[in-house]
Structure formats: C-alpha cells, structure tokens
C-alpha cells in the first residue's frame, strides 16, 4: 500500500511543480517526476510478493515464482517515451531561453487571447 501512496505522492509532487513553479526547467523536471511516479505505479501493480524477475535464468524456476512481466515491458516503453518528451522539452527550453532570455514562464506569454 505504501508503494501506491508513494507513487501517487510522486505524481502529485510533479504536478505541483508543473503547476506552480515559475522556472520552466523546474517545470520540465516536474514532468519527469510525474513520469517517474506513473512508472513506479506500474511496477507496483505488477509486483507479486516474494517473486523474482521474470527471467528463466536458472533451471527450476516456475511461472508462479515470477512477478507480472507485462507492466515491466510497458514501463520500458513508457520510460523511453518520457525520455523523448523530456528531450524535446529541454530543447524547447533552450530555444525559449534563446529568444526570451528568461526562464520565467510568466514572461513567456506573448500568445494569448
């Protein structure tokens, strides 16, 4: 249970950062934190008590002794996606800083209404 709570808390912290922090780099960090939270949540629901990684690395391992492999596979993909988004976000931050000479999101609002 604490795993769930922690992951959700992580998500909330990330969201708080995104919603409140003014520095766009911090916002990007917030996005990463959200991602981490979600990924952890994935892993958490796949976990089975006292089970091992789903690899038949040694003989005698039974299917029943392993954790659910699907969330892990999904998380693998999700991480990569998160990475890609972060990369694009950071590149945008670089561009924004180039143009605006600031990282304060309140100053970057030329497009409105």
């Amino acid at each position: 249970m604490i795993y769930y709570a922690a992951s959700i808390l992580l998500i909330l912290i990330g969201m708080y950062a995104v919603l409140v922090k003014k520095n766009i780099i911090k916002i990007v960090i917030g996005l990463s934190i959200i991602d981490s939270g979600v990924h952890l949540l994935f892993i958490a629901i796949g976990y089975v008590k006292d089970a091992t990684a789903p690899i038949y690395s040694r003989p005698g391992l039974e299917a029943g002794q392993m954790v659910d492999p699907v969330p892990q596979a999904l998380v693998l993909t999700a991480i990569v996606i998160g990475l890609a988004v972060t990369a694009v976000a950071l590149s945008l931050v670089i561009r924004l800083y180039d143009h605006h000479k600031t990282l304060n999101i309140n100053r970057i609002r030329k497009l409105k209404w």
């Binding site: 995104v18 999101i105 497009l111």
Partner: protein, 616 residues
C-alpha cells in the same frame, strides 16, 4: 425535350462557362450569358407541358423536383427578369473589372432561384436557398469599400433566416421523418400544436428575412443600394420574391391547417403593414435614389405580405399580382436609376438634376414606374392596390387598411422626389453633355414600361395565370373578364372603360394644348424663370433638392428617431465585447492551461461522486 435537369445544367453550366470565358476568350462571355438566360426563358416557358417530376435519393433524403403552376409563375418572373437585367448589364457593366466573377454569380443566383421554386422537398429547397444566398452575397460585395460591412449584414441576416428555416426542417424531419413538401402538407396536423406554431414561426422568419419583413429588413436598403444595378433590379425584383413564394406556402398551406391561423394571419398582416408604412417613411428621407428605391421595395413587399396573410382569394390574388408586377416595375425603376448612374456617375438626388431632356426614354420608364408604384390608374399598379384594399376591407381588417392607405399616400412623396430630383428641376451645366443610355439599357426598360400599361388595361393577363397558380392552395376560381376587377361585395371596376376615358381625354387635351398657339409657344431654359423680378445670376443655385421633405421629416421625427438598425448594432457590439471577455480564458500562460486541465479533472471526479454516489 426540356426538363428541369437541363434547366439547371444550362444555367449553372453557363455560369461556369462565363467565368472561364472571361479568362480565356472575353468576347464569348457576353454571348454565353445572354444565350444562357434566353434558353432559361425558353425552357421555363416550355416546362409545364413537357417536364416530368425528377426524383432521386441523396443521402437519406428523397429529392423531388417538379413543376406546378405556383412555381411556374415565379419561375417565369425569374427567367424574364433575369434575361432583361442581363441584357441591361451588357453595357452597364462594360467598363467594370472582374466580369467573370460578376456573371458567374449572376447566373448562379438565377439558377438558385429556379431551384427554389421547382423544389418539392425541403432539402433541395434549402440547398438552392443557400446557393442563392451566397451567390447574391458575392454580388452585393462586388463593388465598393463599405460593401464589406453591408454584405456581412446581409449575409448574417440571411443566415439567421436560413437557419430558422433549417431548424424548422430539422424539426419536421425529427417528427415526421419526411422532407417532402406534399407529405408535410398532408401530415402537418399530426404534429403537436406547439410544434406546429414553432415550425410556422420559424418558416415565417426564414422567408421573412428574404422578403425584408420588419424587423429583419435592416440588411435590405444598404444591400440593394450597394450591389451593381443590374443585379439590384433582379435582387429586388425576383430574389425578394423567393421570400414571398415561401411565405405563400407557409401561410396558406401550413398555417391554414393549424389552430393558430387567425393569430398568425393577424400578426403577419400587421407586420407587413407596419413594414410598408415605416419603409415608406424611411424612403422619404433618403437622399440616394437607389436607397430610396430599396426602401420602396421593402414597402411594396410589406403590401404583398399583407395580401398573403389576409388569405382571402382576392387578397392572395392581389398579393401575387403585386409580386409579379413589383418584379417588373421595381426592375424598371432600378434600371432607370442605373441608367442615370451610368451616364452621370451618381444617384445622389441632391446632385443629379434635370435629365429629362437628355434621357427621355429613361425618364419615360421612370415615369411609368412611379405611376405603377403609386397605384394610379391606368397602369397595372392600380389593379393590385385596388384588389388589396378591397380584400383588406372586406375581410374586416379595418385599421390595417388605414395603415396601408397611409403608406401608399406617403409613397407619393418619395416617388415624386425620385423623379423630380433626377429628371426634373433645373438643368445644370455639368450635365449638359449627358446622352441617353445605350440601346441595350433602354430597350429592356421601355419594353417593361409598356408592359405595365398593358397590364393596366388588361389585368386579366396576370389574373388568369395567377388564378391557375392559386389552384396550388385550393379551389379558387377567377372567371373575370380580361379587363375587369371584381371585389367580394360585387363592386367592380372596368379597366377598359377607365383607360379609354383617360386616354381619350388625355389625347384631346394634349392635342388642344399643343396645337393652340403652336407657333407662338416657345421653349425657354429653366434658368429663365419667374423669380419675383430678380434676375438669377449664372451661378445662382435654383435647384431645390436638399431636404426636400423637411417639413414632413419634422412631422414624422419621432418615428425616424428610433432605428431598428441602431438597436441591432448595439446588440452586436455588446455581444462582441462579451465574446471578447470570454476569450480572456486563454491567458497565454501554459501553466494556467495546465491548471484548467487539473481543474477539469477534479471537477469531473467530484461530479462523478455526486452523481453516481460512488462508495470509495
């Protein structure tokens, strides 16, 4: 073999060809346009004897096109007016640019109108209705700088009307699962009474906008005034009649079946009468001839609406009679104003003056036009007015008839001003070199002018086909003599006698006054006038045109002060600023947007718990 499809193909095809020709072989363009419209006249003429109904499925709808007497009446008006206005436009538009655009849209308007009157189902009706609307919009904004706001106003009002109509169509579809007009007529009483009245009101609004019914008329004066004159003639002459066509169907086919008929009749008739009166007042204070005529159109359409709303055989007859006739005389008047514009470059009544001796044929057309509008015998207008008054009185709308009379008397004011300012009065030097308009313009005008005289003598040539057309609404018979008018109390007017009398006396008096002292009668210029002993100098202004009806304006000042147009503008402005306020939701701050997202989510979650009472 002619059929409706050939009619549409030729008209719309001609439109596209004209556009292409403009960009390839310019000489062909006029030829194509004239041939197309002439073919249109021919086909429409032959249609009743040869055409069969055309029916096919389009999506979920059964499309039905067919010819009936009622449609035929309007189609002929469209075809003939289209033909004349196009001939007129040859020289009128010669110097303008973007003629391909002009002619294409012109023919599309004509095609759209054919489509409207020949549709037997609501979908194709709406389809062609909208085609007509946008192509006419294109023509309204053809010319000048301020055309854009005027065009926009026109289109917005048209759209409100069209969408009212669409709502009605949609309601009918939802409840009767049909779009066919005939099925609708049969099953209309199956609708609940609330729905009946809704549908009727929506349709009346829809058609009322096009027929410039108050309070939806505000687009009309400007739009009429600003569009190129050949099109204005068609616009006022034929296009506005599409609204009348529809109102006829709604009032006489639908409303007549509902329990609210009496109410609908009274309200619409009063709206029509007030339209007529106010439009006339506004026409009186105009200074631009086309605008004046535009308001006059609105007024005349008001009469027609009254006639349709009253719904007795005589009133329907008068309405349709006036509708047909209005098509002709208003086209004449616009054409003569256009001819003046063509030669002088202006239709400002404070400026242009004394053209009678320069443009006699144009003047003649204008004269016949105003006499017809005024409803003075012996021209055709009298028959229409006469029938309308008789019908209004005899159906018990006593106060209505007063309003109509007032409007029609006041109409003399603007009519006189129109012809006086442009053609009579002082002949000024700057217009000394004006010549008569070219033949392509005068010939259609004069033909139509003579036609009003013929109708005046033999109203039967209109009454009999209209009587047939009224068969669409029920059993009405008009077995009148070709030259007589008859009311429901049995009183009649014999137009033949009237015209013979007038003609005889007129000719005798004219001969008398001409030959008496023929030699010693001499012409003097308009500068050589009685001015109480003062000899006017060369540059003294003797033209009386500005504020021609100042006293009358003072008398009706309270009416003029309140303008519906201003009210609409106020509403529009307020709405726009309200919209402006709304878009501040988009603050431009990405974080705020993100906050909206979370807010949305949180609200949904709370709502979900409230609504579904979820146990968590």
């Amino acid at each position: 073999m002619v059929s409706l499809t050939t009619l549409y193909e030729i008209t719309f095809g001609g439109a596209i060809l004209a556009f292409i020709a403009q960009h390839t072989i310019k000489q062909l363009r006029t030829f194509i346009v004239i041939v197309t419209s002439a073919l249109g006249v021919y086909i429409v003429w032959r249609l009743p004897s040869q055409a069969t109904d055309i029916s096919f499925r389009l999506g979920d709808f059964q499309i039905l096109w067919g010819v009936n007497e009622y449609s035929q009446l309007f189609a002929l008006l469209i075809a003939v007016l289209g033909f004349f206005t196009l001939i007129y436009s040859i020289d009128f538009m010669k110097e303008r640019e973007r003629l391909g655009y002009f002619y294409m849209n012109f023919l599309i308007v004509i095609g759209g109108m054919y489509g409207i009157v020949y549709s037997q189902d609501l979908i194709s009706l709406f389809f062609f209705w909208e085609i007509m609307t946008w192509s006419s919009f294109m023509l309204v904004i053809y010319c000048c700088d301020d055309a854009q706001s005027i065009g926009l106003k026109y289109f917005v009002f048209s759209a409100i009307g069209a969408y009212a109509m669409l709502t009605a169509i949609v309601l009918i579809w939802a409840n009767l699962e049909t779009t066919s007009l005939s099925v609708l007529f049969e099953n209309f009483t199956n609708l609940s009474s609330g729905l009946q009245i809704t549908v009727i009101v929506l349709f009346i609004v829809g058609f009322g906008v096009k027929s410039a019914m108050m309070p939806f008329h505000v687009w009309a004066p400007d739009a009429y005034a600003i569009s190129p004159t050949p099109f204005t003639a068609l616009f006022s002459g034929a296009l506005s009649k599409m609204g009348i066509w529809g109102l006829g169907i709604v009032l006489l086919k639908l409303a007549a079946q509902s329990g609210f008929y009496v109410w609908v009749q009274d309200i619409v008739a009063w709206i029509g009468a007030i339209t007529a009166l106010l439009a006339t007042f506004y026409a009186i204070v105009q200074t631009d001839a086309k605008k004046l005529l535009a308001y006059s159109s609105i007024g005349q359409l008001g009469y027609i609406i009254v006639g349709l709303a009253i719904g007795t055989p005589l009133s329907i007859m008068s309405a349709l009679f006036l509708a047909m006739l209005h098509g002709i005389f208003k086209a004449m008047l616009f054409m003569s104003a256009g001819a003046v514009f063509y030669r002088t470059g202006s239709t400002d009544m404070n400026e242009v003056t004394g053209l009678i001796r320069k443009m006699p044929w144009t003047f003649l057309t204008a004269l016949f036009g105003i006499i017809t509008v005024a409803g003075v015998p012996p021209l055709g207008g009298f028959a229409a007015k006469w029938m309308l008054y008789e019908a209004t009185i005899q159906s018990g709308h006593y106060f209505l008839v007063i309003v109509l009379f007032a409007a029609s008397t006041a109409a003399f004011l603007y009519l006189y001003r129109f012809i006086f300012s442009l053609f009579l009065g002082q002949e000024e030097k700057e217009y000394a070199d004006i010549k008569e308009a070219p033949l392509t313009m005068t010939v259609p005008m004069v033909i139509m002018a003579l036609f009003t005289l013929v109708v005046g003598v033999f109203p039967g040539i209109f009454i009999n086909p209209i009587g047939n057309a009224m068969g669409y609404f029920g059993n009405y018979t008009f077995n009148w003599d070709v030259s007589s008018l008859l009311n429901e109390w049995g009183n009649h007017v014999d137009m033949m006698t009237v015209v013979m009398t007038i003609g005889a006396i007129f000719i005798i008096a004219a001969i008398f006054i001409t030959i008496k002292n023929y030699r010693t009668t001499r012409y003097v210029t308009t500068k050589d006038i009685h001015t109480s002993g003062e000899i006017p100098t060369e540059n003294e202004n003797l033209t009386y045109a500005v504020d021609f009806y100042k006293p009358f304006e003072r008398a009706i000042a309270p009416v003029l002060k309140r303008s519906i147009d201003k009210t609409y503008n106020l509403i529009a402005e307020n709405l726009e600023s309200a919209f402006d306020f709304l878009r501040y939701v988009y603050t431009g701050n990405g974080q705020t947007y993100a906050l909206y997202v979370v807010l949305f989510l949180a609200v949904l979650m709370v709502f979900a718990e409230l609504i579904f009472g979820i146990q968590l």
